[in-house]
Each structure stands twice: as C-alpha cells, then as structure tokens.
C-alpha cells in the first residue's frame, strides 16, 4: 500500500513537472506591467487587448456608417477573436471575409478609402503582410502625394498581429515595423496594452493618413487593464514616458516596453538607479523630441526591439540621438534586438532581447 502511494506520488510529481516544463516553454519572456492611469474620466471595464481592440472597432462601426471591417476569417470573429460578435451586430456587408489574398485585402481597402469609406483591413499575421507590401508602400503611402492632394486613402487602417508569441517561429513572430518605417506617407503604430490599443486604434481609424497598426499578439489575452468604455483617442506621433529617472533612457515599443519596465525595476532594486522608460508608440512619424530630450537629460540610451538588429528601427533612433545629443552622451547608444537571423522556433528564449540581455546592456552603458 505504502509503495503504491509512493508510486502514485512519483507519477503525480512527474506529471506536475511535465506540465511545468511545458508551460515554461510556452510562458512569456516578460512580466506584463498594466497601465494604472486611464487617459479619460468615466466608466471603465476590465478588458484584455483583444477585447479593447474589439471595443474600438465596435465604436467605429456604431458611429461611422461607412466603416467596414474585413480580412481573412474576420466574419466569424477572426483567428484571434478581435472581430468577435461584430458581424452579428453590424451585418455581413460591414464585417466580412475576403478571399485569402493579402495584396487583394490591402488594395481593396485603399479603394474603399478612395471612394469615401472607412476601411479597417485585417492581415491575419504581420508575417503575411509582404504580398501587400506593394499596395501599402507604392499605393497607400503615395496616394495623396502623387495626386497633388486630390485623392487620399487616409481612411484606411491595416491591422495586423505581430511579434513573439512563445511558439510562433519564423512565420508567426515577426515584427515588420521597420520595413514600413521607410515609406513616407504611412503611419506605423504599435500599442503596448489594452488602453493604448483602443485609444491608438481609434486615432488610426480617424487619422487622415493610412495607418499600419501592429498588435503584439501575445498581449491579446495576457494583457488585462481597466479600459475606459467610452470613446477616446491617443495622439499619434507621440511617445510616452512611462518611468522617469536620470541614469539612462530606455526605449521600446509593443511587448518590449514591458521587458524594459522590468529592467528599470531591476536597475532600481540592484543598482539603486532610476531610468527613463519611453514607449515610442508611433514608429512613423516618430517622436524625436521626447526621445532626444530624455537622452539629453540622462546621457545614456538603450533601445530594444524584437526585430533583427540590422536596419531595425533602433538604427534610425540611434542615428538621430547621436546627431541631436552628441555632447550629452556619456556612452555609445546601445541596441538590444533580435539577432540577425530568421525568428527561430525552439531557440526563441535565446533569440529575444530578454530582460537579461537588456539589463547587461544597461550595465555596460552605465559603466562605460
């Protein structure tokens, strides 16, 4: 009897160990830091990022009769459930599936916007946005410029889930913001959680320029906040300073903001120093002023993004910082990024610029 208990206990322990190992493999590489301050007064509700995005689109469809939402599998709610319930609410002519073709989705959206409708296009994964690259970069971005201001497709917003998710590998993990940052005429925006997702998405939808709205997919369910239920927007082209300090400036966007917030806590705890943490939010056009003012104050700058190092958007920030803050810099601008390799499957924990790599970069910067 005793041996049986022991055997069972051993099995149970083995099982628990197994589950723990598995969940460890799938667990996030960051701790989520929820926003505690709401941008507007009024009623709030607990929402994850998927619900906040759904809520923003709900508000749009309700108030703007020209607005339509479309993409692959959008009709039944989308593979990430962001359009859940919207087809039932607003009808099949406003929330609908398209054929499986990203260039078609982007082009279709441009046409809708050209003819006066508000277009919200979903590209199922940012990794699959490249067939639409021509439509976005050559058409949407240039529509106003090439027509001398006669035509524009600013009413187009392309939403797409991006970035690491724990097991996404090469084609479900990419962060393609830098590709689009090289296309004047576009706005590229990345939220860090439910409150910013709702406010920034509503801004993108109403903004008279075409927007690429990249949603870090790992935050869809893992990020929960008290989100204002009413209508509100957050400014585009503006960064947000989330922590203030004088030791260094830490810059990121999307999920990586949370990694740097933890690094700032580690620095405070272990080193007794305080850092500025900046969420860039808008990649294009970006808030040079907030970044440079911070670096002029701290003299040190660490930029981190999941996308590969070379020609990542960190390069643009670093170049601008050295130009604008040269005499204030106490150390070279540091970039902690994904390695210059495709995004790998089982190596994800080693590929990502996690808190340890970022913390070491901060140490190196502080001790330069």
């Amino acid at each position: 009897m005793a041996s049986l208990v022991t055997k069972n206990t051993t099995l149970l322990i083995k099982l628990i160990k197994n589950v723990t190992n598995n969940s460890k493999r799938l667990s996030s590489h960051f701790i989520y830091y929820p926003d505690n301050e709401v941008p507007v007064e009024g009623e709030t509700a607990k929402m994850n990022m998927m619900q906040a995005i759904n809520n923003a689109m709900d508000i749009t469809l309700k108030n703007d009769p020209t607005a339509v939402l479309f993409g692959e599998d959008v009709g039944f709610g989308g593979v990430f459930r962001c359009s859940l319930g919207l087809q039932e609410k607003y009808g099949k002519d406003r929330v609908f599936n398209t054929p499986l073709c990203e260039q078609g989705i982007a082009g279709f959206g441009i046409g809708l916007a050209t003819a006066g409708a508000t277009a919200i296009a979903e590209i199922q994964f940012a990794d699959y946005i490249f067939p639409a690259f021509d439509q976005i970069v050559n058409e949407a971005a240039k529509a106003r410029y090439r027509s001398g201001g006669q035509f524009a497709c600013g009413a187009l917003t392309v939403r797409s889930p991006c970035s690491a998710v724990g097991h996404g590998a090469l084609y479900h993990s990419q962060s393609p913001e830098a590709f689009f940052a090289h296309a004047p005429g576009l706005r590229v925006v990345v939220p860090r959680g439910p409150i910013t997702a709702k406010g920034l998405l509503l801004s993108c939808i109403r903004e008279p320029d075409p927007c690429i709205f990249l949603e870090p997919k790992i935050l869809y369910r893992s990020a929960n906040e008290e989100v204002p239920v009413g209508d509100y927007t957050l400014p585009l082209g503006k960064a947000q300073v989330l922590r203030e300090g004088d030791a260094a400036t830490l810059i990121a966007w999307g999920t990586q903001v949370h990694v740097l917030l933890e690094v700032a806590d580690m620095a405070k705890e272990k080193l007794g120093v305080m850092c500025d943490v900046i969420d860039l939010q808008s990649i294009l056009p970006w808030d040079e002023e907030t970044v440079c003012n911070s670096v002029k104050k701290t003299g040190r700058c660490v930029i981190s993004h999941e996308a590969p190092l070379t020609s990542g958007f960190g390069a643009e920030i670093a170049a601008t910082v050295q130009e604008q803050c040269f005499l204030h810099l106490e150390a070279p601008v540091s970039r902690v990024c994904g390695w210059d390799a495709p995004f790998p499957h089982v190596f994800e924990p080693l590929y990502l610029p996690d808190k340890w790599r970022c913390y070491q970069a901060l140490l190196d910067t502080l001790h330069y």
Partner: protein
C-alpha cells in the same frame, strides 16, 4: 503553305471533336448511373467514372463581338446603338484630338521638351467607346493608356499638357512622370506606374459605392493583357466576384506588354476565359470597333449597377505605337504587322466611315478639325512651356495630411542650403515665394 494550313485545320477539328465528345458525354453518364451530384463544399458537380482532363481545346474560343465591318458598315441593324448625332460627332472629334495630341507630344519628347510619353494609337475606340457608355459619375481606375477616357470626360488638352510638363498648373504638382493624370472633379483616380495595383483598389471603391444609399454609380477599371498576369489582377477579379461589386473590368488586350507578345504572356484563351472561371459575366469585343465597345460597356453598366455583380470585357486591339518613348517596337515586331493594323483594322477610319455613311462627317470637316485639334495642342504647349515649375517646397507637401516635425525640419534644412547655394540649383525654373 496552303496544304500545311489545311492539315492544321483538320488536326484542330479532330481535336475539337474529341474534346467535345468528352465534354458532352459527361452529363448523360452521371444521370444514367442515377448518381446524385457531389456535394463537396468546394464543388457541386456530377461524378464520372472515366478520368478526363480539360485543356484549352476543350472549349470553343470565346467569340469576338463586333457591330461594324472594316468599312464602317453595320452588320445587324438591331445592334446599331442609338446615339445622338452630336454625341457621335463629339466621339469622333475626341479620337482625332487624342491622335493629334499623341503625335505632337510624342515628337516633343523626341525633341527633349517633355521627359516621357506614351501614345494611344490603335486603342482610341476603346477609350471613347467605353467613356461614352458610362455615366460621368462612374469612377474610373485607369492604367496609363486611357487618356481618351480623360478627354471624353472633359479633361482639357491644357490639363494634359500641363501634367506632361509638370508645371505649376499640373494638378499633380509636378511630382509624377508624364501620362500619370488624375482628376477628382471628373472622377478619374490618379494613375500610378505599378501595374494592376489599381485593380483591387477599383473593387474596393465599387464596394464603397454599393453601400451608398440609392447608388446608381459603378466603377470601371482598365488594364492591359500584361497587367492581367499580375497577382493583383487575379485578386481583383476574385474579390469582385465574391464580394458582389458593381464594377466593369475592361481589358485592353493590345497584343504586347512592352515587347512581350501575348503568346508569351498566357496560354489560355486570352483574358476573357478567366472571367467565367471566376464566376464573372464576360464578353469579348473587337476593340477597333467603337460601336461594339460602346454596346458592351453600356450593357455591362446596366447589369452591374442593377445586380451588383462584376463584368469583364476583353477588348481585342493592337498597340500600333511603341510602348513608350523609351521603346522602339521594330526591334521585336515587323513593320508589315504594324502597317496591317494601322491601315486595315484601325478604330478611327472605321468609325469615320460609319459617320460618313450617315452623312455626319466629310473630308472638309476632317481637315478643319484635324487642324484645329493640332493647333490646340501646339498653342497649349507654347503656354505650358513658359509656365514655372511648382514651388520647390511642394516637394515635401502632401506626404501627410499635416506635415510632421521631421519633414518640417528637413524643409528648413533645404531652405538654409538653398540660401547658401542658390546658384547651384535651377531655382529660376521654379515658382518663388
């Protein structure tokens, strides 16, 4: 030669018969066996027990609809459209105006007065025939060889010449190469260079129109046989069909994509055969026959606005001119071939003979209108040439709705640079503050 042709026809007929018998046997067999048609989500079709492949000879070639013969005589009087006399004359005048403009602007590029040009020779009938059959409210998404549509809509020679010069009067503010016209007032969406990108956009615009209250507008989307090979072309046709859009796709199949002949562009029965495959109502017309194009577009327009379903028209024609001023087409096709299409199968003489047969046109009118339209272009060019180019700051305007601070800074940087180096740039050509 005759023998070989004969053998070819025989072989072709034999193939056709085999294909037909294969095809016709399909139906009875399934009913004989009393088997219910398959109900796969992807196809409701009969089962057969004999494996059959289909190929391009399994179907008859899609016929080419025409109204007139080469002498402008109408084959079937019931097919002759009833168009007001004044409109008929206007249509012809636009074709001549277009042709004269092409001639002069092409030459002006050769003289270095404008940087680039593309002629429309051989396709004037498609432009004018389609434009006349549309409502002026219908939204046009053009490729780059449809300027006749622009002229018919009311865009002036002056507008066109100003665009080619990129001067201060150019609506596009001198930003695009010549022939990239656009005119919002006339519902003509600005042209861009990438091929077929306008196609899914046209579908999206049609969807937006459909959703407008009491909509009576449609979209027409022009494209060429080369552009039809782009992924955007397929996506557009498929989106239009699945999303029920009021759009007319008008393919100008002029035989060449720059130097690539259609024989190297596709192997099926032209572009039209793709329509039914995607569930799109389709017709093929003789693009050198203005009246055939007019009838096809008119009927397509009625259908698409009423039913919110797309239509595909393939207008067969021949690109008589070179692809552009950067091309010499005699490097890849014979002069005899070009001559045949210039002399025997050209839309302008055909329509002229039609008008003459109705007593609406004669040699005297031809001479005076040709002169008038030529003079209009020359006069316009003299004026356009003297106009300044837009202010250099227009280089950085209209990128965004509001100029972001980084672009403002760049403008300031350039301004400072120009103050120091003003003699190094042709600033006198540009409008000043």
């Amino acid at each position: 030669m005759a023998l070989r042709t004969g053998a070819c026809v025989l072989r072709y007929n034999a193939l056709r018969t085999t294909a037909r018998s294969l095809f016709t046997r399909t139906q009875p067999e399934s009913t004989q066996n009393n088997v219910k048609p398959a109900e796969f989500p992807g196809a409701k079709a009969p089962y057969v027990t004999e494996m059959k492949f289909l190929n391009e000879t399994s179907y008859d070639p899609i016929p080419i609809y025409r109204v007139m013969d080469n002498n402008g005589a109408v084959f079937e009087s019931k097919e002759e459209p009833s168009i007001e006399k004044d409109t008929l004359i206007h249509m012809y005048k636009i074709m001549i105006q277009l042709s004269q403009m092409d001639k002069i602007l092409y030459e002006s590029q050769r003289q270095g007065r404008i940087s680039f040009y593309m002629t429309n020779y051989g396709e004037e009938g498609i432009h004018v025939g389609s434009a006349a059959a549309l409502s002026p409210d219908d939204l046009v998404f053009a490729q780059y060889r449809e300027v006749g549509v622009f002229l018919y809509r009311g865009v002036t020679v002056t507008d066109i010449v100003n665009q080619c010069y990129g001067n201060v009067e150019d609506l596009g503010k001198g930003r695009q190469m010549p022939v990239h016209y656009g005119n919002k007032q006339h519902n003509l969406v600005t042209i861009s260079s990438p091929l077929a990108t306008q196609m899914p956009q046209a579908v999206g615009a049609a969807y937006a129109l459909k959703r407008q209250e009491n909509n009576d507008r449609c979209v027409i989307c022009y494209f060429g046989d080369g552009a039809a090979s782009e992924g955007d072309a397929f996506s557009a046709l498929n989106f239009a069909a699945t999303l029920d859009c009021p759009i007319i796709f008008l393919c100008r199949n002029n035989g060449y994509a720059i130097s690539t002949p259609t024989s190297e562009q596709y192997r099926g029965d032209g572009i039209a055969s793709r329509g039914p495959a995607l569930g799109i109502r389709t017709v093929r017309v003789d693009g050198t026959d203005l009246l055939a194009v007019y009838n096809a577009v008119k009927e397509s327009r009625e259908f698409t606005v009423k039913n919110n379903k797309p239509v595909l028209i393939e207008a067969m024609s021949y690109r008589v001119g070179h692809h552009s001023t950067s091309d010499d087409s005699t490097a890849y096709r014979s002069i005899e071939e070009i001559q045949k299409w210039t002399n025997d199968e050209s839309p302008i003489p055909k329509f002229k003979m039609y008008l003459e047969s109705k007593g609406l046109w004669d040699a005297e009118l031809e001479k005076s209108w040709a002169k008038e339209s030529r003079d209009t272009v020359l006069r316009t060019m003299q004026v356009a040439e003297k106009k300044k180019l837009p202010h250099w700051k227009e280089m950085l305007e209209d990128v965004y709705y509001e100029m972001p601070s980084r672009i403002q800074k760049q403008m300031q940087e350039m301004e400072n640079h120009l103050k120091k180096y003003s003699d190094k740039y042709p600033l006198n050509k540009f409008q000043s503050d």
